[in-house]
Amino acid sequence: MLPILSLVLVTLLVGTVATFLAGARARWVALGVSAVFLAEVGTLFAQYPGWPGYVNGVPGFADGQSVPWIHLGWLQVNYTVGVDGISLIFILLTAILQVATVVYSWGEERRPAAYFGLVLLTCLGCFGVFVALDILLFFLFWEAVLVPMFFLIGYWGGPRRRYAALKFFVYTHVASIVMLVGLLALAFYSGAASFDFSAVYAAAPTLSPVVQAFLFLSLFFGFGVKFPIVPFHTWLPDAHVEAPTGGSVLLAGLLLKLGGYGLIRWAVEVLPEGLAHVRPILFFVAFLSIGWGSVVSLAQRDLKRMVAFSSINHMGIVLLAIALGSSLGLLAAVLLMFAHGIVSGLLFMTAGSVHHTFGSRDIPAIGGITPTTPALSTMIMVGSLASLGLPALIGFPAEFTALLATWNGLGYWVMIPLGILVVTASFYLWMMQRMLFGPARGVPAEAHDVPWYEGAGMGLLVALTVLFGVLPGLLVNVIVSSPIKGFPGT
């Protein structure tokens, strides 16, 4: 069988280099690479029912490949990749967002080769994070994501791009270091004598609960800043506001998911007992993020900043679902992250288009844009409604599962996220009332609806929002077709 994961990595690597060198034709190269990427991911999906379960108590990963990389005495670093249901969902998200971003950014005029190359490089890093099953390989990809994003914000960004890029880089890098310490401690303390996921997974339960709890906390901090969790979230609004649209889409759609994925794969699955000990802390942080993100969104004037804070709210629900410590919770978290990746990508694209069309993203300054830009308004409506959890759109199955899992695990505490749903609905509806409806305000005479490529990029995401909203089973069946690790039998 073809080692598809390695094939994808090679595709993206070669594609990125080719894009950097392609000059004016970079967008075509990038689109071709994205199409191949999507096709390869589709092939992976086609194989999903035949996945291995546990082998001797250690989870089996599909399409696994392991090649010795650095072997120095006790230091055994391998190039190990593999997917299970959870990572496959994230890979799919990566492929979708890459295609959508490339199409949406078709009109980029400033150094297109570098722009598209960096977009591809970001996706390459994210893909690597989602498939790496070796601690050092994982960390390599993890850090590799920061660099292209730093340049995307720092060169193509808004007026305060330098500040935002640096803040983003320093903040997440500090967290990465804490995370690396946790990961290394995990590998060495557990006696796994290897950086391999399966070895760590098998060895970690022997650790004492207190050690597990501390390891979990260090990993949680590292991954949590990427989530981001309140109060370590202030890099996010600045980065989003300053980033170019494509950068925002990848930032919200993929980079935040790295935190969630990392927490599931390297902390929750490996250290379920550690999770059990620190759950109250996670719940507190999750409730704080849910409430804070939603309430602060209500006060925002900048459309992008509003969506950024709503991301904090949504990722808070993800954290809540993860912290529940049940298979249902993990399923809900993965679904939520997929949904949020698609929907926030869509919303940031609409925010970018609003900015291109009307020269501003200030919600009170713009009004009644629907007659001028009906297509863009429709996209904003779909995105907002999906984000506030309307059924038949992708947000609903995810939120429903998460809330059901919360009810099952926490009882009446579920009233906090449920109540916040009303606030979430209110800031989206209020934004729509002010920006889309009412008499026209701040609409330039020459304004016209979005260009075809922006419409196509957003249209793709709208279509997927509806498709997966009506048929969430397409995702759920993939996730549950391989064993959900960490809580077998719950």
Partner: protein, 664 residues
């Protein structure tokens, strides 16, 4: 018998037809100028849906109490400790049973008629493809809701009809008031929806392992037809079930605009009148009542729940009617009347007569849609909704005046019009419970008093609009009847408003209400008590009509004197008891202020701390920089000092730590 039962498995065709209509009109409506921008497409599809709907309900009449469930797995979810140890499935499907057939009949018939009426009524508006697409989507969602076979699917369609309502209320989105009303409707019902969702969770987890064949969870949480299928697990669940029932009531109150979530419905009149007739009178707002009926049939309410439901229903029936008494806007008068009538239905369900409530829902859908369409005909003709500008319209609009009068008589409960039978049935049913539930007394009396107000306000509206010599505002355009597409629905609905109440006495029709064996109150039984009660309520209604004629008949306009002690009451009623102001205050002032404060904290306290770290590090590094003198000897000294430090650590500190830890 049962020749049409084969159709039951294809009930999904009804929503599917409307989805097809939505897709066609939504995508190609802009190019269908000759088909009224897709309007005729929507009419054709809703006509086809009506045919299927009517056939299904006729089939259900022919074979009473049969039911057909078709379902597919929507989500297969993994286990969760405690409640769902084996994982569970969520399904989607269609359940054709007597009450869903009844609702299907109402929704498809009224839907088709309103769609037809829209061709004439909406002709001069812009954005017609959007209108017909959204209305088609609404009908798809509404029929889906009616056919839903489990609570989750119910909730899905419940939200979808909500969002269609949002878009249709905001159809004239350039008007700030319409945009605001749409948002208000969505948010207020959202509060109810959140309660509904929590109620679903409570029921799911309570009954997951109870019920037939391995638990309700194993059954996909599908409504199990027949008697209450579930045995509460253990004794501690009484409280949980009570809370669940209250939460379901909360959801129903949001959708059916019951007190205290009633504020959105009058404002929803910003939408086109056709939308008000279909969504905000006949179908969507009745979904809350349907939810309560379904819940009471399949899951049951506890005694506490019943009392709360009776209280909310009875109180709303009276409370909403008082506001209708003074309002100058023809549509809002009817809107308050809708809230009030929904209150009667809720009252009946709370008292344990779900079928009687649905009976009133059935008749109400027709006469209330009739009233709205007649009002729409008036608005279409004179271009205003203000009753005090109208007058004397009956000369030029005989059909409309007659239709409005028929609707009014049905609403007021004058025999033999439709409303009389069902409303009296409700009063009789609740009355029969008063002996065993004395706590119902005040709410029964409120509902009874509501009969008088109902008759008064609807005929006040009729007299103001239609009687008298001429219009009060001479600038109004010359009134005229609408085109035939508007007249046909008025005639058909008038027919229903006259006879729909009598259907229940026909053989077969009660099959849509009788749930298997006979249900108390269907068809109404007329003993001495009931006849006395009927006599009293008809007398009250007649008195209400008489008062309306006395004050407003023949073009009279009754002005309350400034010195009248009733003035403050009147102002309070016109201000709608200040509920809207209170909610606006909570939303705009309280919550928004909190949000602004939180935003301030976010920017200056949390991010300020981050910047504090930044500055601290900058200051420290500025100090440390001075060590870099550039002189080689200094660096050599640092090297030596560092070496000494390593020695100290290795030789002195490390052994001490090892000794403290007990190592060797």
């Amino acid at each position: 018998m049962g020749a049409l039962n084969g159709l039951f498995g294809y009930a999904f065709l009804v929503p599917l037809l409307m989805v097809a209509s939505f897709a066609i009109v939504g995508l190609a409506g802009g190019r269908l100028k000759r088909l009224e921008w897709g309007g005729w497409v929507a009419v054709a599809f809703s006509g086809a849906a009506m045919v299927v709907g009517v056939l299904i309900s006729v089939g259900e009449m022919l074979s009473p109490s049969s039911y057909t469930n078709v379902q597919y797995t929507w989500l297969h979810l993994p286990p969760a400790p405690g409640t769902f140890p084996n994982g569970f499935e969520l399904v989607v499907g269609t359940l054709v049973d007597p009450i869903s057939a009844l609702l299907l009949l109402v929704v498809t018939v009224v839907g088709f008629l309103v769609m037809l009426y829209s061709i004439g009524y909406m002709h001069h508006d812009r954005g017609l493809p959007r209108y017909y697409a959204e209305l088609s989507l609404f009908l798809a969602a509404m029929t889906g809701l009616v056919l839903a076979n489990n609570l989750l699917e119910f909730f899905v369609f419940w939200e979808l009809v909500g969002v269609c309502s949002y878009f249709l209320i905001g159809f004239y989105y350039e008007k700030p008031s319409a945009a605001s009303a749409a948002k208000e409707a969505f948010l207020v019902t959202r509060v109810g929806d959140v309660m509904f969702l929590l109620g679903i969770f409570l029921y799911f987890s309570t009954y997951a392992q109870a019920g037939p064949a391995g638990g309700w969870a194993a059954n996909g949480f599908v409504f199990v037809h027949g008697a209450q299928p579930f045995v509460p697990v253990g004794t501690g669940n009484g409280t949980t079930l009570t809370i669940a029932g209250i939460l379901i009531l909360g959801g129903a109150a949001g959708k059916s605009a019951q007190f205290p979530l009633h504020v959105w419905l009058p404002d929803a009149m910003e939408g086109p009148t056709t939308v008000s007739a279909l969504i905000h009178a006949a179908t969507m707002v009745a979904a809350g009542v349907y939810l309560l009926a379904v819940t009471s049939l399949f899951l049951g309410f506890t005694a506490t729940d019943s009392l709360v439901i009776v209280a909310i229903g009875g109180f709303t029936a009276f409370f909403a009617a008082t506001m209708a008494v003074v309002h100058p806007d023809i549509k809002r008068v009817i809107a308050y009347s809708t809230i009030s009538q929904l209150g009667y239905m809720v009252l009946a369900i709370g008292a344990g007569f779900a079928m009687v409530g649905l009976y009133h829902l059935f008749t109400h859908a027709f006469f209330k849609a009739l009233l709205f369409l007649a009002a729409g005909s008036v608005i279409h003709a004179v271009g205003t909704q203000n009753l005090f500008q109208m007058g004397g319209l009956k000369k030029r609009m005989r059909l409309t005046a007659a239709a409005f009068a028929i609707g009014g008589l049905a609403l007021a409960g004058i025999p033999p019009f439709a409303g009389f039978w069902s409303k009296d049935d409700i009063l009789a049913a609740v009355f029969s419970q008063l002996g065993s539930h004395p706590a119902y007394w005040p709410f029964f009396l409120l509902a009874f008093a509501g009969v008088f107000l109902t008759a008064y306000y609807i005929f006040r509206a009729w007299f103001l609009a239609f009687s008298g010599p001429t219009t009060r505002d001479p600038t109004l355009p010359e009134a005229h009847e609408g085109p035939w597409v508007m007249q046909v629905p008025l005639v058909v609905l008038s027919g229903f408003a006259v006879v729909a109440g009598l259907f229940v006495f026909l053989p077969g029709f009660p099959g849509l209400l009788l749930n298997g064996a006979g249900v108390a109150g269907i068809p109404p039984h007329y003993g001495t008590t009931e006849l006395l009660l009927s006599g009293a309520s008809v007398g009250l209604a007649a008195a209400g009509i008489g008062l309306a004629w006395f004050l407003w008949g023949n073009g009279r306009v009754f002005v309350l004197p400034e010195s009248s002690p009733a003035q403050p009451v009147c102002r309070l009623l016109l201000a709608r008891y200040h509920f809207k102001e209170a909610y606006d205050w909570v939303g705009l002032r309280a919550v928004y202020t909190v949000a602004r404060a939180a935003d301030f904290v976010d920017q200056y306290v949390i991010d300020g701390t981050v910047h504090g770290f930044e500055r601290a590090f900058a200051a420290i590094s500025d100090r440390l920089r001075r060590i870099q003198s550039g002189i080689v000897s200094d660096y050599a000294a640092y090297v030596v000092a560092g070496l000494l430090l390593v020695f100290v650590l290795l030789l002195l500190v490390a052994p001490w730590i090892v000794a403290r830890l007990g190592g060797s």
